[in-house]
């Protein structure tokens, strides 16, 4: 996924072209860049700071403050497990433990082969179907450790074939 400098530059120009450079646009700009690249490359942050006219530290401060803005590349597949109160009461920690052991990574980490990222989220608002998880954008209610493992296996199997 490595981007050649020129390519990154070009796509960034395109994204920034849609904004006027106001300070209040910082978060929407970062969200757009992340949509494009999957994370916020360091070079992009530098460029954004010049575009808006704020110190690089300010851009980094904002980018690192918000949970959904990411400074590192994510895995190809993403598991997000809800750790809200209802999910917790209904056993979300078992899901998190299972995912950690199957993938061999901790919360917030990505496998070295960039296949999987494991994340948790404060609350998805699907509390009535607790515990909940999202795998590659699809939401699942009433999740069980067994179901989660079978979804992981299915994704891995699907990719091999």
């Amino acid at each position: 996924m490595g981007l050649v400098g020129g390519e990154l530059e070009r796509r960034l120009e395109e994204i920034l072209g849609a904004f006027c450079g106001k300070r209040s646009e910082l978060i929407p700009i970062l969200q757009r860049i992340q949509n494009e690249f999957g994370y916020l490359p360091e070079d992009a942050l530098v460029k954004v700071s010049r575009f808006i006219g704020v110190p690089e530290a300010h851009v980094y401060g904002v980018a690192s403050f918000y949970e959904q803005l990411r400074l590192r590349q994510l895995g190809k597949n993403i598991i997000t497990i809800c750790r809200g109160t209802s999910c917790y009461v209904c056993g979300s920690s078992k899901l998190i433990d299972e995912a950690k052991s199957v993938l061999g990574i901790d919360e917030g980490e990505t496998t070295p082969d960039l296949k999987w990222t494991l994340e948790t989220v404060t609350c998805l608002g699907m509390c009535a179907h607790a515990p909940c998880a999202i795998v590659n954008g699809k939401v699942y209610g009433k999740m069980t450790p067994e179901k989660l493992v079978s979804i992981i296996r299915a994704v891995e199997g699907g990719r091999r074939s």
């Binding site: 106001k22 300070r23 209040s24 646009e25 910082l26 978060i27 929407p28 970062l30 969200q31 401060g61 904002v62 403050f65 918000y66 949970e67 959904q68 803005l69 809800c82 750790r83 809200g84 109160t85 209802s86 999910c87 917790y88 009461v89 209904c90 989220v121 404060t122 609350c123 998805l124 608002g125 699907m126 509390c127 009535a128 179907h129 607790a130 909940c132 939401v139 699942y140 209610g141 009433k142």
Partner: protein, 561 residues
Amino acid sequence: MTVDELDELRQTAMRQWDELHSKPHVTVGNATCGQGVGALETLNAIHDFLTERGVECDVVEVGCIGMCYAEPIMSVSLPGMPAVFYGEATPERACEILELHLLSKKPVAEYALGTVGEGSIDGIPNLFETPMMKRQVRRLLSRCGFVEPTNLMHYLATGGFDGLEKALSMEPSQIIDELRRAGLRGRGGVGFPTWRKWLTCIQTPSDEKFVVCNAHEGDPGIFVNRVLLESDPYSVLEGLLIAGYTVGASNGFIYCGAEYPLAFERLTAAIKALERVGLLGDDILGSGFSFRVWLVKGAGAYVCGEETALIASIEGERGMPRARPPFPAAKGLWDKPTVVNNVETLAYVPHILRHGAEWFAEYGTERSKGTKAFSLTGKVERPGVIEVPLGMTLREIISELGGGSSTEKRIKAVQIGGPGGGCIPESMFDLPVDYESLAPTGAMMGAGGIVVMDEDTCMVDMARHLIQFSQCESCGKCVPCRLGTKQMLAILEGITEGNGNEGDIVLLEEIADAMKVGSLCGLGQAAPNPVLTTIRHFRDEYEEHIRLHRCRAGVCKALSS
């Protein structure tokens, strides 16, 4: 758009609405909660079935009716018969229902939740007479699960924009007076009178003012706003328009959490539709009032539900709260007077304008007027979203509407009001739920999330979990919150891992006091509540953990059970 044009559009909308209801049609509840248990698969199966059979029938994707436990939910309506709502409509079951009910006109009592509309069907109760619905007063939720959320015509056919039209014919002072007589208080948790907030904004001189809808429902264990935004987004926009007109703002912002992609999508569609017909834009309904709405997507920070942090986030800063006063109503977004209201509060405003203050105040208690939506989750038979008069007791809500425990274990407590709320033991379930009455428990109603816990929950571990949440989400600006949550978490981890000490409880209470007094915003001030309430009501569990190394719920793995 002029008033006459609105009227014309409304007539068309009502005609279309009647037409829809005079023909066979099917609805499917399509909100995030339904999608999480297969509503989209059901929807596809229904479309496939109709295509295969060559049947022409409208399929309406509605929002969430609140009976989340029974999702996916579908309904079938035939002319001359009440509509029948069906639960757990898996793709297979949906096809079976269509085969029998839609094609053979034989409603399937076995899968039915209830009927809606005139008439009755043998063996199927009226939906609004069933235990979860019977004691609800559905005003705010009246459209949820019955209209297509982003369909403006459905909104207009069900009284939409009557409130705005009325408001635009009134002076701002009259609107303030209406809200004051109604007694509407903020539904986000603090319960500040809405009219007073608006009035402060009106009275603060400024060349520009703003209104902001706080749609960052970050509290874990609550999803009332999500249901409203996904099922009836226009009501929130209409409320925001009325707020804008009243305080003299021409720009409104909706700050929607990134955790709610579907709500964001539906708001986007609803805003576009209003811009298209001219209900957003210049000179709305010929009143001279111009208004635009900007939808802002949060980036995942719980603290941004706090109004000053939310404002900082819209400004493009880190979402860190600042000291109040000055309150945003006097000095808010870009230092201009800004009204920040919760989704539920704003969604209620058009109803109040439309039906009047007296109608609103028919329900509720002396100081907590009206109805309020709650989300009911955890170990309860019928989790979902309900709307009841303020002042209903916890026992009524949990036992009657919720159907009691979903397990064979006894219900032990509820966690109410989000991570800053508190835990209330079963022995106090006869207290009414409103802004003030829960005070003796140390907990508060908050935004209305009720999480039911049975004997499988360890209260010490629950306190640890909630403090861990607050510690994670503390923005780090003020010391009491940043360090207080950290130290409380360390002590609670010690206790749940079998390393508790005599004196830990006192220490927790001391830190809690400092946090309550010294923290900058509500997050830090309220964060100790789960710890304090569990110490108050479940002290024996703490003592067992510390002295006997025993966890009676069997949750703390390092201890015996």
